[in-house]
């Protein structure tokens, strides 16, 4: 494969810019396993205005919301059905991860 030899001056600048970013340390930087199921609607940052934003929310808020969805106390369209599939530990890990996002 000879893609790599096709470097350009512009490419060097991009490469430098990327190299200056903090490099996450492989497995240590992975989100908890449950998060993969959430980010398609609730990304770590940004997201669609039609869907609640979770990145940077307090972990306690997220845990409380999930508990209310699970018990049926909080009316929902789909989160009640999904929340029932997650354990307390999974929800705590997911909530802590979102709380740490900005």
């Amino acid at each position: 494969m000879n893609f790599r030899v096709m470097m350009t001056a512009k490419g060097t600048i991009l490469a430098l810019a990327l190299a200056l970013l903090p490099a996450p340390a492989g497995a240590a930087s992975l989100p908890p396993a449950g998060v993969a199921a959430c980010t398609g609607c609730h990304p770590a940052s940004g997201g669609d205005p039609a869907l609640p934003r979770l990145g940077g929310r307090s972990a306690a808020d997220i845990v409380a919301a999930m508990a209310a969805f699970r018990s049926g106390k909080r009316p929902a369209t789909v989160m009640d059905r999904i929340a029932k599939g997650f354990s307390d530990d999974e929800i705590a890990a997911i909530a802590a991860w979102y709380a740490a996002q900005r």
């Binding site: 893609f3 490419g11 497995a27 992975l30 199921a37 980010t39 398609g40 990304p43 869907l51 999974e90």
Partner: protein
């Protein structure tokens, strides 16, 4: 539609990013970056590539995709119903390349599992430490007598990421005279997007009701039941009475022969003379899965539910519609989650750590009418090597939900689509 870069431009952008390791300190460079090749740039493969990139800047990631423009199937039935533009379904790979993933617009033609290499239609050979196959479905062209790949130029399937097929079906519906019949041939399970044929029938009925009110839609089904059936049928009664008819397997839906020239479909009981026919054939895993030796006798690919590695070939993972993941439906939502989970498993395997127990969600919205959607959600986890639904979770939207609930789900369908496609292609 956005301007698509040529293959050379896409590769050049990717090459710039792939040059990153050259600038790393000597200690890091001492060990070559692990090479991951992903075949298939849809929801599963695209999500996997982006998740790998986010988890580890050092990996050398190559995404192989045969089309330079991806036409996303979810919500594409809205195009057939005249309520969405095809352009909103279409995405290029320039941002993926700019994120530091090498994009090769080419078809993977062979896999050598022993040598750990993938051969491309361009003649390039890519070697890998881990290969991820996300080829989506292949169509069983020989399953319906009279139908073939050549026939799909007249009777579109419109069931893959090929935008031309969706555009063709849309043009045929637009050109049809009032009073005609649109026949939809629905496949046996397992198949991509189980509610898809019924959403499609709904969207076409919406178009006909508004513009060609003497026309009809008939679904000729190889099954006796389908997902969210009570919800669909209730909505059909409300929106499309006398326009949309569903013929189950046992009520004569089974297709015996398709006569392309005479525009006739013969079922076990009747002949249907159609103006437009949308033939969705039975399916199997995409071709490269067979070539790589990861498909089994069913035509689909068994996988380890934690790592998505094939039990048939070491170092090859299968995600998305091609994978047989127990009770998991073949949805774009699930494919995207599988892509992320597979990425995490690969990162852990490369680090010599045990992969984490995954949890998978599938949440599929179906648009029955504008501002009216229904959904089926499921949460899955591995039990004894197979994905099963977590007890007490998931299910469909309520049968008796008020219009505001359906409107909210239609809004969520759109929002999920925008969010996930931005995550992958943005």
């Amino acid at each position: 539609m956005r301007v698509q870069k040529t293959r050379r431009e896409v590769i050049r952008g990717a090459a710039a990013a792939a040059a990153v390791p050259a600038l790393w300190p000597r200690a890091v460079m001492a060990q070559a970056a692990p090479r991951i090749v992903i075949v298939g740039g849809g929801f599963a493969g695209g999500s996997c590539a982006r998740a790998l990139r986010a988890a580890d800047q050092k990996l050398a990631i190559t995404l192989v995709e045969s089309r330079s423009i991806y036409t996303a199937p979810p919500l594409s039935n809205g195009v057939l119903g005249g309520i969405r533009d095809l352009a909103t379904q279409q995405f290029g790979y320039d941002k993926i390349a700019a994120a530091g993933i090498t994009v090769a617009i080419a078809t993977a033609t062979a896999v050598d599992a022993q040598a750990r290499s993938v051969t491309l239609s361009t003649g390039d050979k890519l070697t890998y430490d881990r290969l991820v196959l996300a080829p989506g479905i292949g169509l069983r062209w020989d399953a319906l007598p009279g139908y073939s790949e050549a026939a799909s130029a007249q009777l579109p399937h419109a069931w893959t990421a090929d935008g031309a097929q969706i555009a063709l079906l849309r043009r045929q519906i637009e050109a049809m005279e009032d009073g005609g019949l649109v026949a939809i041939v629905a496949p046996v399970n397992p198949a991509r997007c189980p509610p898809g044929p019924y959403e499609r029938a709904s969207m076409i009925a919406h178009e006909l009701k508004a513009k060609k009110p003497r026309s009809k839609v008939v679904v000729l089904d190889a099954k006796d039941s389908f997902t969210m059936q009570p919800l669909f049928q209730k909505a059909w009664q409300e929106f499309y009475p006398g326009i949309l008819e569903w013929k189950s397997l046992s009520s004569g839906g089974n297709v015996a022969a398709i006569d392309v020239a005479n525009k006739t479909i013969e079922t076990d009981f009747d002949n249907y003379r159609f103006a437009v026919a949308n033939v969705i054939p039975p399916q199997k895993a995409g071709r490269i899965a067979v070539l790589a030796g990861v498909a089994d006798r069913t035509g689909w690919c068994p996988v380890d539910p934690v790592t998505f590695e094939s039990p048939q070939q070491k170092n090859i993972h299968v995600i998305g519609d091609a994978a047989l993941a127990g009770a998991m439906p073949k949805s774009a939502f699930a494919g995207s989650v599988e892509g992320k989970l597979c990425a995490a498993a690969i990162v852990r395997l490369l680090a010599g750590e045990p992969p984490a127990a995954p949890k998978l969600v599938s949440n599929c919205y179906s648009l029955v009418a504008p501002g009216y959607a229904i959904s089926i959600a499921g949460v899955y986890h591995p039990v004894d090597g197979q994905y099963v639904e977590v007890e007490g979770s998931g299910g469909t939207s309520p049968l008796d939900a008020p219009p505001a609930f359906r409107a909210e789900e239609a809004k969520f369908a759109d929002a999920w689509f925008r969010t996930t496609t931005a995550e992958i292609f943005g």
